[in-house]
Symmetry: C2
Subunit: 264 residues, 2 copies
């Protein structure tokens, strides 16, 4: 059973620093929530940017140390990108979805279709980097569902007994057909990824496929708005107003099977 109250709030939780490799993200999250005077309540969803996790996991790569394969070099020529970046993109991917000058959309090893394998080239420099190093790239986190679960366990262990929260790890993805990026869930714990609102029959007495809501993606979109321009300064957003029974459902529940995807 999932419901949304008549008022939904998304609150940027201050006090989470721009971390480097080795940072304890669950501890940072718990401390930031406490320092902000926000007591986690049943149904709260904590939304964490992938960038915070990637930095904490040390997913920085110095392109100067990447040796592009022949395939990466050829593909880089075709799309007009740095061969070392293309090498990283291919290593992070299970296949290319579309390529064109300036564009390289792949299926990420975690299953989702995303430009450049989600590799971030802004603010990707590790704190300890020598001045003459780089350029740097930042890969997506290793296992966002597991990271979400670890954050959830820590938050719940510090909250009043029996409190159940959700955690969503987000990234900003582009889309076919439509311009601009939107927040999407690449890791989930506790919160149902999908919200099955079926029940009403359609014209023909069948249930409507369209009434399954991408709950975790829409929560990610809310948080992405609040992260706003100051993305570096707002890596943690609390979304309050949902009620749900905690589930074990990975972010991959949001993915169409490639063989059922008419646009794959």
């Amino acid at each position: 059973m999932i419901t949304c109250g008549a008022r939904l709030e998304a609150i940027a939780v201050p006090g989470v620093p721009l971390v480097g490799a080795g940072a304890d993200v669950p501890a940072l999250v718990v401390r930031a929530i406490r320092d902000a005077g926000l007591a986690p309540a049943d149904g709260d969803v904590l939304v964490v940017t992938s960038k915070l996790l990637s930095r904490a996991e040390g997913r920085f790569v110095d392109l100067a140390r990447v040796e592009p394969s022949a395939r990466a070099t050829e593909l880089a020529g075709a799309v007009g990108k740095d061969p070392r970046l293309v090498e990283l993109i291919l290593r992070e991917s299970s296949g290319v979805s579309r390529q064109a000058p300036g564009v390289l959309v792949v299926r990420h090893r975690l299953g989702f279709v995303v430009a450049n394998a989600g590799i971030d080239a802004s603010n990707a420099v590790p704190p300890e980097a020598p001045a003459d190093s780089g350029p740097w790239a930042l890969l997506l986190p290793e296992a966002p569902d597991a990271s979400a679960a670890a954050i959830r366990a820590r938050v719940e262990s510090e909250a009043p007994s029996g409190t159940r929260v959700g955690v969503v790890i987000t990234d900003s993805f582009g889309r076919p057909f439509r311009l601009g990026t939107v927040g999407v869930a690449i890791g989930v714990s506790g919160l149902p990824a999908l919200w099955d609102r079926r029940g009403e029959p359609d014209l023909f007495g069948r249930t409507l496929e369209q009434t399954i809501t991408a709950l975790a993606d829409q929560v990610a979109a809310v948080a992405d708005l609040v992260a706003g321009q100051a993305a570096e300064g707002r890596p943690l957003v609390l979304v309050r107003g949902l009620k749900f029974d905690p589930v074990r459902e990975p972010a991959s529940a949001l993915l169409r099977k490639p063989e059922e995807d008419l646009y794959a």
Copy 2:
């Protein structure tokens, strides 16, 4: 200049009834806001479901009165849908994007790519319908940008002088690659459809395409969450926490040009 505060709120505004053809939506919106004790403030965005507008515009169609063309009948056979519904879908569209058993994705006459031309088959019955009529379908609104502008003008005229709000007309769309629907903007007034957050150079000194946020779509996603299961009862959501200079930018600003779309 666009900003989002550290707290974003989405509030379902109660008191908007399930209307029939001829309802004055701007008047309904103003009255519901006032009755809820919500004074519109600068930067507020009023989000209205397409279904409310469609009903007010009388976009109901009795399928019993639809004569399918030969093409609609053939296509209906291929995808396993009612030929009369397929006829309506084709009339509302400029072309078919993908077809498969059970699936008919088209480019709507308004430009966006959507399953079934956004035609709704649930709660599509007009209030005055005879018991033996139907089945009924509900088409998307005629001109959502113009409807958004009319609502905005009415809200601003009743608000303290100089108050500037945004209005978004939403629908729930499916997506390639990912399961579940998300709220998208099919009409916009005042609010910038896109939020250009570029400025930081990427690895190669260029600006990042990825830092343009689909602002109106993300606002639509927030509202879609709040509309929740009770979609019929929550056709109006107030989103508070953004600041923006009002612009004239249609919802089509969110659409990729077909010739630039690798998935078209």
